[in-house]
Symmetry: C2
Subunit: 303 residues, 2 copies
């Protein structure tokens, strides 16, 4: 596995690939790669001729020092996992140090109003500013043709889509489907901090989303509108009796990420987003109602 740790060397590597006519795909990660990340890398490899995977635990997007300190780091393991994919296209791991990315205290921040203020933005002050800023910087460094972001971090995906559009960054943003464990739990680097009991509680998040999809299906079958408050109630009911501290259960417009009461349809899709804490670990999940593929994926992965 090719590992690059400096911005200058990464730029040279990308320039050489580009000079040879290759298109560049990019998957930004914070490492601790799991099957969810690997699916994003596989997707990038089908769409481009060189894939850059950044592994950088970005301090500025953590609102809690303990969460930053506890965030798992395993660069050797990450490279082994990437190598095991056996991809035909070269994969370059970009793993800069904090000093390489922030040689001085940064003064510049990129922020996306409204999109980043609700949901996780409300619980994690400064989180999406940190994300928007580091993504802008990584996109400038890597200069890829396309970048793949996971649907699991749905609000982050919208923030990135919007900043790319607003700042006219020359990159295509591709959304990769959420990968799930056998019990339906969305794959996350944080999952490895859950013990067996926590895992049972954590799986309720995806079951809550399943309940909202089933409620939407039922409404459609009965010829009724799919109402946000109805699908939200279905999800909230699942979480009511679970040893899990619910942060939010919300139905938001899929583009603006703002609470909505508009009937959900394929032309006005909505995201059911849940967040909760189990055993000191914060977990999030979501499904896009009105997106038949996302609904079907969620149902097939949960029971």
């Amino acid at each position: 596995m090719e590992r690059i740790t400096t911005i200058a060397a990464l730029r040279d590597r990308v320039a050489a690939a580009r000079a040879a006519g290759a298109t560049i795909g990019f998957v930004p990660t914070m490492g601790a790669l799991h099957d969810g990340h690997l699916a994003l890398v596989r997707l990038a490899a089908t769409l481009s001729e060189v894939v850059v995977v950044s592994v950088f635990v970005n301090p500025s997007q953590f609102d809690r020092p303990d969460d930053l300190a506890a965030y798992p780091r395993d660069l050797d393991g990450d490279e082994t996992a990437l190598a095991s994919l056996g991809l035909r296209v070269p994969v370059v791991v970009f793993a800069p140090s904090v000093e390489e990315m922030y040689p001085r205290a940064p003064l510049t921040t990129v922020s996306v109003a409204t999109l980043g203020e609700h949901l996780c933005g409300a619980s994690r002050p400064g989180h999406f500013e940190g994300v928007a800023t580091v993504v802008t910087k990584l996109l400038s460094i890597v200069a890829p043709d396309l970048a793949v972001f996971g649907r699991k971090d749905r609000q982050q995906l919208q923030v990135v889509r919007r900043l790319v559009a607003d700042l006219e960054l020359p990159v295509e943003i591709v959304a990769g489907p959420t990968q799930r464990e056998d019990d339906g739990l969305a794959r996350s680097s944080r999952n490895r901090r859950l013990d067996a009991e926590d895992r049972i509680a954590a799986a309720a998040l995806s079951r809550a989303l399943r309940a909202s999809v089933l409620a939407a299906e039922r409404a459609r079958d009965e010829g009724r509108e799919v109402l946000p408050r109805e699908v939200r109630a279905a999800a909230a009911a699942v979480l009511a009796d679970v040893p899990l501290v619910v942060d939010y259960v919300e139905v938001v417009d899929a583009a603006t990420m703002q609470p909505t009461s508009a009937p959900v349809s394929e032309t006005t899709p909505a995201v059911v987003a849940v967040a909760g804490e189990v055993g000191g670990v914060r977990l999030i999940d979501n499904v896009e109602l009105g997106d038949p593929e996302d609904e079907a994926r969620l149902l097939s992965a949960t029971s």
Copy 2:
């Protein structure tokens, strides 16, 4: 003169120039080009093989609607002025409409903390966020090798230098010297809104800076330290009896743009910055003490 009004066409033009091996210089302007801008274009033409001059009156950096409305616009005149330079390198005018630059209400802002909060930032809330955001966007669209900014807008220059460094934007920022009228007044698109009487008052700004340079010279001649409060007092004294509403007379560190009381030297240069309003027109000017070239230019252009 080659005029391009869409982002897509500008990108194609730059890509074609780059494919032909040309380096790209960029001079962002709000139009109403005067000899100050033209000197920046000439400088860019000595450093690159194609020069892109953007002409875009960016609404988001105006804090006052009346100032935005009154801002002079003369695209045909701008093109005539650029053509009259007779440069050997191609000059491309990029003149997008507001709708082309902001097809939807933008949610994304780029801000540079502290650097943009003092001086003009204090008097013009949101101004430097508007500047930082549109410059980031223009740099993404034009993707130049270098961009030239005038020293007259010294705080803007520092904001741009810092955001380019913090976000690792792949562009070299070049500072162009301030151009002056015969009476020393720094050239500005706003000068054409001054009547004869206003002009007499306006010239006091550069005379104030001259007084601060002379005060610094005197201190050096006498073997004393060059103290910010002493050079500031020299500048303020010139402005005391002039029919001009002083906004600020400040001595700030040349890198951080924060007020300083440290002795000024070539290793710790400081900027004397002045701002005032004459006949409803806001004017600014500055000189970098400790930068022998900038001091000499100011003295030779004022009397």
